[in-house]
């Protein structure tokens, strides 16, 4: 079972905490909304930290069903 990072820009409130936690993976567009700089990034502690602190629930980890 592998986990995958899910990002939902429609939910993002632009708090930017993800960018603070892991700037290599997360960025913000002109409107402050989250963007992802790398496809399927390895889930390091900084990403887990970003997911845990994201105040809007825009970031989540999902089991992608693969073995």
């Amino acid at each position: 079972m592998t986990e995958r990072l899910l990002v939902d820009p429609d939910v993002c409130i632009g708090a930017g905490l993800c960018v603070v936690a892991q700037p290599r993976v997360f960025d913000q567009d002109e409107d402050g909304i989250v963007t992802v700089r790398v496809e399927s990034p390895p889930l390091d502690d900084d990403i887990r930290q970003a997911v845990a602190t994201c105040p809007s629930g825009a970031l989540s980890l999902r089991d992608d069903g693969s073995p």
Binding site: I13, A15, G16, V19, V20, D31, G32, P55
Partner: protein, 409 residues
């Protein structure tokens, strides 16, 4: 924002008492709050406006309520207004609501909030940092020229955030002194509420003029940006209201953090030295100060939209819940040795900026002001010390702070 400030405490006493969630002994929140939290109890408190609210204190509960804007609404209905506001006409009342992000739920909230998020990105904050540094340095220079003893609350804490907001909103330099005097009056709790509402009206009129002028020649500031990018989605009152709201939300909160943060460090000299001398200690130190001080004692009350339960108590739809941020931020279930200030403890996920869709939009700015303003002060005046009787804690209020901090160096 509106009527939801409970007055009753947990202990029965004849004297009218500060409500339990606003009570502190210097830095320490009321032990009654800790007792409620440890017992997992949810207590009913009565607001001065005749409404009642349930007080939540556990980190998990507070976070869960803030995360769920569907079941816990900011658009409070059918709750008594503060008596001071009872005789306001609808015309007087309406402007209080314009731009008030904290009184809206999604999707209205989302629409208004998204017009602002682009102004507070991490990237824009980095671009703003040199301007904040300049404001801080100029203020420190003025203090040095004036010489000790002086009151840090009025000479530094209140001024820096106000000047930063002027910069952000594009208030012209010639207006700043008058603007500062007004904003400081607006947030002074010892000024009668009627007078504060009058000052608030003047400031709103000022913002409205500022927005009017900006429509003709939009500048490089937030108002200019909002006009360029959202000029057609935002009505004029909304624009002026948003500017005003940013002022209210970003001034006193940051001011109190600067002053209280300085005092907290003066009381913990070893940690002060680290904040002053080790640049790597600053950002985590600011987070710990945010947690430990929790200057916003309670976010605005939320209204329960469907029956729910906390601590074995059934809370019916329509009731209000109040959330204690100091209690949540000192919950031993979330933080080890919660009552100790420890700037080296690392990320703990505090709730000082709230959580969920209303999470403080100014958090990146506030963090930057503190990351710049605290070490700069300590470096400029390495011999900083408190004058005898120099410390005054403010009577309890939703924004906890100091009335004075007289220092020498």
């Amino acid at each position: 924002m509106r009527a939801a400030e409970p007055v009753s405490g947990t202990t029965d006493q004849a004297v009218p008492e500060v409500p339990v969630y606003l009570r502190r002994d210097e830095f320490t929140p009321s032990p009654d709050l800790g007792r409620l939290r440890e017992a997992g109890r949810v207590e009913r408190v009565t607001t001065p406006f005749g409404a009642t609210a349930w007080l939540l204190t556990r980190h998990d509960d507070v976070r869960a309520v803030l995360a769920d804007s569907t079941r816990f609404s900011n658009a409070v209905r059918d709750v008594p207004q503060p008596p001071e506001l009872d005789d306001l006409t609808e015309d007087e009342r309406a402007p209080l609501r314009f731009g008030n992000l904290l009184g809206l739920d999604p999707p209205e909230h989302t629409r208004l909030r998204r017009t602002l998020t682009g102004e507070f990105t991490v990237r824009r904050m980095r671009a703003l940092e040199p301007r904040v540094r300049r404001i801080v340095d100029e203020q420190l220079e003025k203090m040095a020229r004036k010489g000790p003893p002086l009151d840090l609350v009025t000479e530094y804490g209140l001024l820096v955030p106000s000047l930063v907001i002027c910069e952000l909103l594009g208030v012209p330099a010639s207006d700043r002194a008058a603007f500062n005097a007004q904003t400081i009056r607006l947030i002074d709790v010892s000024v009668p509420i009627r007078e504060r509402l009058r000052v608030g009206r003047e400031l709103r009129d000022y913002m409205s003029d500022l927005a009017e002028r900006a429509r003709l020649a939009p500048g490089d500031d937030i108002i200019g940006m909002l006009i360029r990018e959202h000029g057609r989605d935002l009505t004029h009152p909304e624009l002026a209201g948003l500017a005003n709201f940013l002022l209210l939300a970003g001034h006193e909160t940051t001011a109190n953090m600067l002053s209280l943060g300085t005092l907290a460090l003066l009381r913990h000299p070893a940690q002060l030295a680290r904040m002053r001398d080790d640049p790597a200690a600053v950002a985590p130190g600011v987070e710990e100060l945010l947690r430990w001080l929790s200057v916003v004692q309670a976010p605005v009350a939320r209204q329960v939209r469907e029956d729910t339960e906390f601590g074995g108590v059934r809370i019916p739809a329509g009731d209000l819940v109040l959330l204690s941020l100091p209690a949540a931020n000192r919950d031993p279930a979330a933080v080890a040795r919660p009552d100790e200030l420890d700037i080296g403890r690392g990320a703990v996920g505090h709730l000082a900026f709230g959580h969920g869709v209303h999470h403080c939009i100014g958090a990146p700015l506030a963090r930057m002001e503190l990351n710049v303003g605290l070490p700069a002060l300590l470096q400029r005046f390495p011999g900083l010390r408190i004058e005898p009787d120099g410390v005054g804690f403010r009577p309890s209020h939703v924004f906890y702070g100091l009335s004075q901090l007289v220092v020498s160096w």
